[in-house]
């Protein structure tokens, strides 16, 4: 249980975070909502070496097979046992129901058997809390751009658990188009890092791809399916000419189009709401060009731009434990009939 007096005397409030909303099974122990004592993700190399090979992660049965070893490893790496914990935080949505259920069931079982408080965290809200793991002091109200393989949302965060969705994608997520274009170019998966790298050697001006919804009618929403189709059309035409693909230039022009939209809408939100801080979150937050351009564009707006460390950009349980710590402080405990919520909404957590 959260113990304010104890914390002041140097006791660390330890939260075990559990995250199984999509492909990865993850567990982490975080102290006082910011000190990551362990961060285990089933797709990590070290974990695979111990449990033998990379297996499809999508299946919920896979989550079931690795959930206990992942939790054990998170505790072992942190140097603690179940007896040291102060609470259990788990992602209860949005995501795949079968996958979510594995994490939710494990968290409920631990909470009940160890008599520890249980907190339920929205996966997307969790991404915001990756920024609490940077050591920076986070101050509300702020604006956060979450861009990942499954989501692209611009949020006004007024306090813990107080969120307003300013804009979201109307079709493809930003990370998704990176992956799809990378596959079309034969660059493998995931697409983000390799496109980021090749784009550095390319000239984005060689091709002009559309930026959708940039007018007032688009509000702060995003649309990336148009740029995806335009790039695919260009690839087809280049191939028809029988010449080698200008990979670097294509990557640069494509990345420019996606980053432009993300940066421009973020800047508009900042101009409108004038927060002191702007947070980036989600897998696309690892993109170097996005970080660089955001910093440039937002610098004159007197807003502090904060990014999570790379390992907390993609899905992880440390961010869930961090969010769980603040939920716990607020006394927002989950009941034992907590269920997986595949379509969980951000504004009604």
């Amino acid at each position: 249980m959260f113990d304010e007096k104890g914390e002041k005397m140097g006791h660390k409030t330890l939260i075990l975070g559990i995250e199984t909303s999509c492909d990865d099974t993850a567990a982490s122990v975080v102290g006082n909502g910011r000190d990551v004592l362990s961060n285990v993700v089933s797709s990590q190399e070290s974990f695979h070496q111990r449990f033998g090979g990379i297996v499809p992660e999508i299946a919920s049965r896979r989550h079931l097979e690795v959930i206990n070893p992942v939790i054990d490893e998170a505790l072992a790496k942190a140097g603690f046992t179940f007896a040291h914990l102060d609470g259990i935080a788990v992602t209860h949505g949005p995501g795949l129901v079968g996958s979510l259920l594995v994490g939710v069931s494990a968290a409920k079982a631990l909470s009940f058997s160890l008599d520890l408080p249980l907190v339920a965290v929205n996966h997307l809200e969790g991404h915001i809390y990756a920024n609490f793991l940077t050591g920076a002091t986070i101050a509300f109200p702020l604006i956060c751009l979450i861009a990942s393989g499954g989501h692209t949302s611009l949020l006004h965060v007024k306090g813990h658990g107080q969120l307003e969705v300013l804009g979201r994608t109307r079709d493809d997520a930003a990370g998704e188009v990176f992956d799809k274009i990378a596959r079309a170019l034969g660059l493998g998966f995931p697409g983000g890092p390799v496109i980021d790298q090749l784009a550095q050697q390319g000239e984005g001006e060689k091709f002009l791809f559309p930026r959708a919804l940039m007018g007032a009618e688009g509000k702060l929403d995003f649309s990336f399916s148009g740029v995806k189709t335009a790039v695919l059309n260009r690839i087809r035409r280049e191939k028809e000419q029988g010449k080698p693909l200008p990979l670097n230039d294509l990557c640069a022009a494509f990345q420019d189009a996606v980053v432009d939209a993300l940066v421009e809408k973020s800047a508009r939100a900042v101009e409108y709401l004038q927060p002191r801080q702007f947070l980036l979150a989600g897998g696309v937050a690892a993109n170097g060009e996005l970080r660089r351009r955001l910093r440039l564009r937002l610098a004159p707006l007197e807003v502090e731009v904060i990014y999570p460390p790379l390992e907390y950009c993609t899905d992880n349980a440390a961010m869930i434990a961090a969010a769980g710590y603040y939920y716990l402080r607020q006394g927002r405990l989950a009941p034992y009939d907590l269920n997986a919520e595949p379509g969980l909404d951000l504004e009604n957590p």
Binding site: I58, A59, D171, D172, G175
Partner: protein
């Protein structure tokens, strides 16, 4: 088989709306076509035809989305799946024989798992104008009573 041609995203969406309006409980729609063919655009139209209020977004990453409407829409995407076992783990069949309308993008990756009775839609970039024009080939599998192609033709070709 019915062939429809769309020269714009708006038109593709309109064709989708007609399909959605004609779809009945339990209709499974297998949606095929290469990347950028407009599968999600058509799915957006189908959702509107089903009375879905929410914005339909690509399910490639999250694998499935559920939208409440006149009939629920279960929107799947096999793009990211590598083998049939993963698919079975998702418990897909429950939805195939359930109460709503199922749209499966990239359905031809695992044809064996689809119900025998289904509506098949193949979207191809039109050879004359591959940038913006699409040919839609619509056909019924397994049962001709599932869905009225005649009615679709009448509504779409007005």
């Amino acid at each position: 088989m019915l062939k429809l041609t769309s020269t714009s995203e708006d038109r593709t969406r309109e064709i989708g709306r007609c399909i959605g309006a004609l779809a009945r409980e339990g209709t499974v729609i297998a949606l095929n076509g290469e990347l950028g063919a407009g599968k999600t655009v058509l799915a957006k139209g189908i959702a509107q035809g089903l009375g879905v209020q929410d914005d339909v977004i690509s399910p490639s990453y999250v694998l499935m989305n559920i939208y409440p409407g006149r009939l629920n829409l279960y929107h799947f995407d096999f793009y990211r799946l590598e083998n049939e076992e993963e698919l079975l783990e998702l418990g897909l069949e429950e939805y195939f024989y359930g109460d709503g309308v199922v749209v499966v993008e990239w359905a031809d990756k695992f044809p064996g798992i689809l119900p025998a009775k289904r509506l098949e839609i193949e979207m191809k970039k039109s050879p004359e104008d591959p940038d913006s024009s699409r040919d839609l080939y619509v056909q019924l599998q397994g049962s001709l009573r599932l869905f009225s192609l005649k009615e679709l033709e009448k509504r779409c070709c007005l």
